[in-house]
Structures are given as C-alpha cells and as structure tokens.
Symmetry: C2
Subunit: 618 residues, 2 copies
C-alpha cells in the first residue's frame, strides 16, 4: 500500500534501531519539556481557581507558588537519589514492581498510563490555547485544532522519531530564554502601564478565603511539577557517566522550572493579570510587557511548540510502558508488537484515541482537564519514593543512607498529601473520574493477566511423547452452480486426502435443484465427490448450510470437517461490493464450531486494465 | 444473537410469505398515503417560494394550484390507461424496460431510486415539522428527531410489515377527513378573524412578478403529485377484478387529492396565511379555524402519521425496485438477498442511510429538499407515459387506442415540461444535484452490469469434459512455539494428502531459533513434517512469512500452497483483543496470491464459567 509508505516511511530493519547518547544540555531538551512546558499553564490554573472568589484574593497565588516551589525542591532532591538508586531508570512501574512487588507496580503503572494520556490532552489543549491567544479567530475551532494536532503528533510518532533531540533543542531553549527574559523585564520594569494590583483589593470578600479554595488552587498549581520524573526514567539515554549527567540535568531542570514558575506568578501578580478564556496568562504578560509585536507572536509559537514536544514525550512514554506491562502480561499482547517502523504502533494509536476522547469530552478546555491531572502523577511520585525508602532500608552500607530515608519518607508523605488534597478539593470537578478509573483499570489488567495464565496453562505441552495424529477428513464444498470456480474449488478438495468429499448445494426451489442435479450427472466430475442438495426453508443459504455441517460433525464424531469455500478476488476494490463474501460470513460462523475448519480458495478475476493483472503484493 | 431476534423477530420461512388481496378502500390506505400526504407540504412550498417576493404576490398560489390540479387530472387519466395496459404493475422501470428497452428502464429506475430516497427525506422532515408545529420546544431537535424517525421506520421494515393495510387505515382516512373538514369550514366560515388578504396587497412590487418565480413556485407545488403512480405499480395487490379496482382507487385518489390540495390553497389564501419556520401552513390553518385545541393537536399527529406511512411506502418500493434491478444485474447482487424476515434488508439499509445523509446535509429542512424532488418523479412519469404511447401504437385493435395515444403523448409532453421547469428554475437551489446524480448513477449501474457480464463469461463452463484435477499440495504451518495448538494444527496438516508439510518458524533472534530447533528435534513429531526456521530482519513476522510463502509458490509452480493457521477462539468476546489474530491478517494478505489457499483451524479455549462452554451456535 503506497499511502502507508508515504505516510510512515519505508519499513526499518531491526538493526537500524540506533541511539546516540546525550549529554546534559541535550538531555534537558529531550526529557525536560514536559515539566518546563507546565509553566505555560501552571500559574494560570492557580489564578483561575482563585479568581472564582474575586480579584481580592489573587495575591494568594504568591504563597501558593512558593509552597509549590518548595515541593519542587523536595522532589528534585529525592529524584536525584532515585537516579542514584536506580541507574537503569524505568519509571515508577519498574521501580515499584522490583522493590515493592507486582501490585505496587501495577498501581503506579495504571496511574502513569492515565497520566500520560492526560499529559497529551492537557499539553495539546494548552498549546492550542497559546495559538488561539495569538489568533483569536481560531477560538471557535479549538476542539478540532486540538484533535488534528494530536493526530499529527501520533502520525509523526508512527513514523518513529529518530532525530528528536536535535529537533527539540531550539524551541526548548527559546521557551526557557523567553520566559526568563519576561520574568526579568517584568520584575525590574519600573512602571506597569496598568493600575497596580492593590486597585483590585476591594474588600467585598476581604482577605478571608475558604481553605478549600486555597487547596484547590494549590492542587491546580501542583500540575506544574508533572514531568519532572522523566529524567530519572531516562537515565540510560545519557552518555557515561550517565547517573552524574542525569543528576546534573535534573538539578538544572529544578532551578529553571522553579525560577520560571515562581517568576511568572510574581509578575502576573505585579501586573494584575486576570485569567480569561481568550488569551492565556503567559500571552497576556507578553502583551503587557512587549506589546502586540514580534515577541508576543514568537512566544505564542514557541509555547505551542514546547507543549507539542511535551505531548510528544507521552507518545514515547505510554507505548514504552504499555509494552513493558504487556511483557509482564498485564496488558494485551498487541502492545508488544512493533511495526515496520520499529515503534509500538498500538500504544501510539490507543494513546491518541484516548487523548482525543478526553479532548472532545472536555471540549478542548485545559482548565477542565487539570482536576484529573495531579492525582495520577503524585500517586506515581509516592510509589517511586516509597520504593526508594524500602530499597535504602534494605541496603546496610550505602552512603548518606539515613538522610535519603528521611527525606524520601517526607517526600512520600508530601506527595500523598498532594494526592489527597487533589482528590478531596477537586472530587466533584473531575478527580472522581480518576478515582473510579484507577481501580477499574487495575481490575482490567488483572483479568488480562489471568486470561494469559489460563491460556498458557492450556497450551503448555510438558509431555513431548504426544504427537500430532492423522484424522479422517470430511470435505464439504458449497456450490451454487457448476462453473470454473466450482471446478477450481473441487480440485482443491480432491488434492486433500479426504475420507469423503461432499459438493453441497442449498436449493432455494425444487426446479433449480433438479436442473443442477441433471447438470451434475452430465458432468460427472469425479467418483469420489458426492453431490448433496439440501432444500432451504429459509431465504438465507447460510443457515441450512451451517445446519448441514453441524449434522456432519455429529455424524463423523472422530473425524474433522473441512469446508472448502471459493472467494472471488476482484481486480478493483469497489467490485468487492458486487459479490456476496460467503467465505467470510461462513468462516465467521464456523469458527465457533469445534472440529470444523475452513479453507478459503481464492479465485482471481483478471482485471480490466493490464497493469492491474498483478494485484498488490503487500 | 438474542438482541437481533428481539429487534427483528424470529426468522420466517419462505412459505410464511403471505398476502391477502385488498379492495378499493384498503388499497387507498396502502398505496395512496404517499400522494395524499403531499397535501401537508404542497401548498406551503408554493407559498414559501412566492413569499420571497413579498406578500403581494401570494394570490399567485391560486392559479398555480389550479394548473397543478389540471396536471393531476391529466396524470390520473393517463395512469388509469397504464393500469389497463400493464396489469402486472411494476412501475416505470419495468414498463420502460419492457416497452422502450433496457436503457429507458435504467433511466426510469435511476430516477425512481433517487425519488424514493427523497420521498423518505421529505416525508420524514415534513412529519417532524408537523410535530414541531405542535410542540415548538422540539424545534432545536429537528435533525435528530428526523434521523431517529427514519431509523425507526427502517427497523420496522427490517422486521417486515405484514399487517400494514389495517394499521394504516385509520390515520389515512382521519387525515383525509380532517383536511376536508378544514377546507369546508374555512370556505364557509363567514368572518376570518384576521384581516383579509387584500390588507397585504400593498403595491411595492405590485402585481408584476418574475416568470422564474412563478415557475419555481409551480415546480415546488408539483411535488404534491408525487406518489400518484403507486397505485399503478401495485395493481397485483388488488382482489379480482384487480384492474378495475385499481382504476377506481386511482380515480378516488385523484378526486380526494385534487379537492384537498386546491381547497387548502384557497383557504390558506382566504386566511392570509404566511409560511414561517415554526408552524406549518396546515397547522396554521387548523389554529386559525379551530384554535389551539384538540383539533390542532390531533391534526399534528395525524399529519405526522400519514407522512410516516408515506416514508414507509418508499421502504417497500426502493428495496423492491433495487432487487428487480439486481436481478437484471444493474445493481449489486446484495440487493437480491432476503434476510431471515423475508425482507430485502440491504435495500432497506441503503435507503435509510442515504435518507439520513440527505436529512443531515439539508439540516432537516423540507423546503431545502423540495428542489431536488420533482425532477426524478416527473422523469419517471414521462417514461411511463411514453411507454404507454409506444405500446398502444404497436397494438392495432385496442379500444380507445387513439384517445390514449393522444392524451398520453400530451401527458408525456406536460411531464417533460415539468422536468425542464424544475431543472431550470431550481438549478442553483439543488436541482443540479439530481442532474449530476442521475448520469453518475447510470454510469455506476453500467459498470456493475459490465462486471457481472465479465465474471459470468469467465466462470461459464460450456465444455463439461473438463474435470477437477488433483494437484500436489504443499502445506505450510506457521508456528511460534511447540504447544497443544501447534499439535492440533499439525494434526490437520497431516490429515491432508500433502506432498510436503513445512512447520515454519519466523525467528526474531538466533537464540530463540536454536531453542525451538532443539525442542523440535526432541519432540520429533512426524517424519513427514519438515522444520524450517527463517530469520526475520524485521519486527513483523508477517512479512518474512509471506515472503517465504511466495518463494514456495515459485518453487512448486505446478502445485498449490496451503497455509494452515490456528486461530484461538476465546470464551468471552472481550478476550479477542488479547490475541494477535494472525489467521485473519495472513488471510487478508494471502488472498491476493494465486494458488495459495488458507485453512483456518479453530482452537477453542474453555471459558471461565461452565455455561459458556458451548459458544453461541449462531
């Protein structure tokens, strides 16, 4: 199929799977965009929650941001220990499975699969929001753009991303630079052109604000830290000494993310930015600081690009995790299959499908997706840190062991608190979906694993003394009339060592039966073939045919019934609708019969034009 | 499948196809609703067109309606002659084919197929409009209601409508009675409560109105006569003397339709009804005459019911015509297949699909569909009347022969004029779609017929001395590992009289190949089976498998290659996603190879619960 090659490129051989190793600055552009891009919506999500209680409480964003940056520091510290402890990376599923046991792994894996899907949905919709901020005319097309965007990233990944590191460097560093410039200018620029925020601090609500609202804002803001685990998952992609390089990269990521996130919150407060549906907070800031010029438009594009890269990270992570879990038989085997381009295509397709579903259900609204986001991520953080604690407890002689145990325990407690806060404060806003989805998904994984176990037990052959045995074959050839196709099918039947060959005709009227019977006797094809006509009481010929075959199966209880059916292969695809594909229909019914097999004998029609005489070879 | 039986009822045997014959009053309720129901939108469509030029020209609806009633008289007269000439009915396709030749039949058939589809779309949307007139809150749901309505009628027809005659009697006669009562009351009631029409006759446009507009209004109104051919198509359903009964029924239909249509136009004018989007003209009249009471609501429901019956008529006509044309090999064979309920299910499904498509494209707006309507109908009228002329010309001694020839010729000229008027005056409003669709459809039918001819030529066996011949079989059994499924498949292979049996393993790594080879030698299943391992350069195992099979085909040029593949049959449907259905995938590729057949050997897994041990028997 040529369109396939055009879209996905030529098939790759196994040995073509390559991989240069990366150093720190490259590692940052490959593994950090997921975390860094959160700056594009982190502050905004805090402000959106707070603004529901009025302008007066927007200053709460400052202490909340500060707490989140503290949390970040904790996570970075602990994840640097995780890099030390698990040099092969692997993420919370592998770490949890190997340290705490299979079920902890499954819990982490489930949380991560949901998280990857949400990352795609959140990043894509936030990216489209950045685009829409620059081009408000696109507002109406948000959902469609988001879906197309997801499909585009999926197609790119189905081709296989080989040169991703280089491709991603420019937008990543450009985004970092632009946000930091904005923060710097916003902090020092003497005179905000708009009235300063205290103008908004009118006291109808005053400074008293419900704790639930603060927790909710905190939970929204904590989504800015999603993705910081990526570096610890990807340790092996760093050049030697890979652990040190990964730790350095993580440290840089922590510093940059902290500065960018806190900086954005501070200047957003200073400029009295109020979130709205049309223009994102980041774009509003760019507009206030640099006007409606090149900086504004460039930032919109760069934001969109880094969010696309963040979504892209999930398209690497999800299929990888699904394949690891499929190898452990928790997920369907199809996630193990790598396609011609050496990518786990089914993982990519399933991820894209679910992300698109989320985008459509939540109407492309990032803000509506955020309540679902933090639960899964922080759950996997917790499992990773509990694993670290357990691992270090088992080792008696690791350096700085006690410090790690204490800080990681504290980290685990903190992340658990974030999970609880997210569930409680946002339960009705969508967190319940995740709370319901995780146990359901775990039950599904359990059923999958049980099925594979049962099948393996049934198929396993311990006793090699059992050998395949010949059985009596009864061959049935359905036949509507006597023609070349019938002859070809009967040839096939004769080539088999059948105990009995039955040419079966389902007669819709006694006259037709008589006519065919006469023609058969005239033809007299072979003494081994027996002509049987069955009168149909129904219009459908399938029903009496299946009934007759069932009858045969009972008759030859020790043998096997083989139905040999011709299938017309047409020269042009549209001509398929002109033929009743009885072979397909009959096979679909007969596959449920034990001891009945179906042979399909293709009968090729020459096509109209000579080029088409050779049907596609793949 | 139980849902199928629940939805469509138990399968019917051939002999259960019954049929009581009908008399005049029943015939009217079975065959006339399509025509009678046009009263529900005929006048309205004229007024909609005229109202675009202002209120002053609404009086034009009176002469236009008069001309249409004259046309009706002509058509009734001629169709009574057609009943005389073609006692077996059959409609324009059969009449045209038998009298004028195959291509005239195809033209009429094409026009009719389009017309049936439009009848469904127009009737359903007009029916929903009647409902919406009574319940304005439903206005927003017009499209969805229309689609559901169509689906409902389709399901009813898939069950098979046996008792239709009785079911349809009440709404049909109630509709006739209510419209006639309305006309009578409207004509005699002395004092219209609203200002009389001359209040509207302000002279900004004056009485000068463009001829194009008049023609357009006429064309819209002429859609009221669609469906009057139904009685002549259905002559055989009348009890003896069927021709006389049919002619009487047609006469009654003509009188009733004329009175109802002209009456509605007159009183609509008298009461100064102006068409609008919310309430149909008929409902507006009911409201003016009888207020917002029981008559108004009853009329809404009865109107909807008779329009549903009209749509239902197409669900009988389209599949019937498609099956006749499929028998003549103009349409795909699938339209010939009758399902368990003895109905032409494919015709019903295709009709429903296209009607739904039209409803969605035209947003459930009857008025937007009308421009497409008249062309096809009047084209088939023309062909029927030309056929009548030709038939009577050939007969030398029929009574009243000359009169018939003259009036039918005149009728043919008139209907041709209507076709031309409809095309010209409404070309840009939608008539172009039909003008494009008819030739395209004819080309498609031609391609279908040609394909069937070619296939028949290829398959036809004139020389019965040719007999099926035994050929050397090479059997290939793909194998991933040695287990009970492999053994069952190899048993099947051994049961065939194969020249050679190859157990083919596609190895993804040299180690796995070595291990399997060792285990095979240990097993040593049968000396006739040869173990072959092929090293795969690709991830996909299908590609090297197909390549190897192609290689075999070339090697055994005189023989046949048979691939025997196991297919796991799971106990529960969802478990299907847990297995790679290689049999299906391989079959889809190999069917394009000449001389390669595929045998699928089902391997049944026991299901978890004991009831499920017997997989569904159909």
């Amino acid at each position: 199929m040529d369109w396939k090659r055009l879209m996905f490129g030529r098939p790759l051989k196994d040995r073509e799977e390559g991989g240069r190793k990366v150093v720190v600055w490259q590692g940052l552009s490959v593994l950090a965009p997921d975390a860094l891009s959160s700056v594009a919506y982190g502050t905004q999500e805090i402000l959106i929650v707070l603004s529901t209680a009025g302008m007066a409480v927007l200053w709460f964003s400052l202490p909340i941001s500060a707490v989140i940056v503290l949390l970040l520091a904790f996570l970075v510290f602990n994840y640097r220990q995780i890099i030390q402890a698990y040099p092969n990376g692997g993420g919370a599923y592998v770490i949890g499975r190997d340290t705490l046991g299979a079920w902890s792994g499954v819990l982490a894996g489930t949380a991560l699969l949901i998280d990857y899907t949400l990352t795609v949905a959140v990043s894509v919709t936030a990216g489209v929001a950045a685009l829409v901020s620059a081009f408000p005319g696109l507002l109406h097309w948000t959902v469609i753009l988001s879906v197309l965007f997801t499909a585009f990233i999926a197609v790119i990944n189905l081709r296989g991303v080989k040169e991703s590191a280089n491709l991603f460097t420019i937008p990543t560093y450009l985004f970092i630079a632009m946000v930091l410039i904005m923060v710097a200018v916003g902090a020092v620029k003497p005179d905000p052109t708009t009235p300063p925020l205290h103008a908004y601090v009118a006291p109808p609500v005053g400074l008293i604000v419900g704790p639930l609202l603060v927790l909710r804002a905190f939970s929204s803001g904590s989504s800015a830290l999603t993705g910081i685990e990526a570096i610890s998952n990807g340790v092996p992609i760093f050049a030697q000494p890979s652990q040190r390089r990964a730790r350095t990269t993580l440290l840089f990521l922590g510093l940059l993310l902290g500065a960018m996130f806190l900086g954005t919150s501070v200047i957003a407060f200073r400029y009295g930015i109020v979130p709205n549906n049309q223009v994102t907070v980041l774009q509003q800031l760019a507009y206030r600081l640099f006007g409606h010029g090149i900086f504004f438009y460039l930032l919109s594009f760069v934001t969109m690009a880094i969010l696309a890269i963040a979504a892209n990270t999930s398209f690497a992570g999800f299929p990888q995790l699904a394949s690891i879990m499929a190898r452990d038989q928790w997920m369907p085997r199809m996630f193990l299959a790598r396609g011609d381009r050496l990518v786990y295509q089914n993982g990519i397709l399933v991820l894209a499908a679910f992300a698109v579903l989320l985008i459509i259900i939540f109407k492309g609204n990032t803000n509506a997706l955020i309540p679902l986001y933090a639960v899964g991520v922080y759950m996997s953080f917790t499992i990773a840190m509990v694993s670290l604690v357990k691992k270090r407890c088992q080792e008696k002689d690791a350096p700085g062991r006690l410090t790690t145990i204490v800080t990681a325990s504290l980290g685990a407690v903190l992340t658990t608190v974030v999970v609880l806060i997210s569930i409680v404060s946002k339960f009705t806003q969508g967190a319940w979906i995740v709370v319901v989805a995780i146990p359901l998904l775990i039950m599904a994984l359990r059923a999958v694993r049980r099925h594979y176990r049962v099948v393996a037990d049934i198929l396993r052959m311990n006793d090699l003394s059992e050998k395949p045995e010949e059985k009596h074959l009864v061959v049935v050839v359905p036949m509507a009339s006597i023609n070349y196709m019938t002859m070809s099918t009967l040839s096939m039947a004769l080539s088999m060592n059948a105990h009995e060959i039955i040419a079966l005709h389902i007669a819709t009227s006694p006259e037709r039966e008589r006519l065919l019977q006469e023609r058969w006797e005239q033809w007299d094809p072979d003494p081994r073939i027996k002509f049987v006509a069955v009168q149909s009481q129904y219009r459908s010929v399938l029903r009496p045919m299946v009934r007759y075959i069932d009858h045969l199966t009972n008759l030859f209880a020790r043998g096997r019934v083989l139905v040999v059916i011709p299938e017309i292969v047409v020269g042009r695809r549209w001509q398929n609708i002109l033929h009743n594909h009885m072979a397909v229909a009959l096979e679909a019914i007969l596959v449920f019969r034990r001891e009945v097999s179906v042979t399909v004998v293709p009968f090729h029609l020459p096509s109209a034009s000579p080029q088409e005489n050779n049907p596609p070879r793949n």
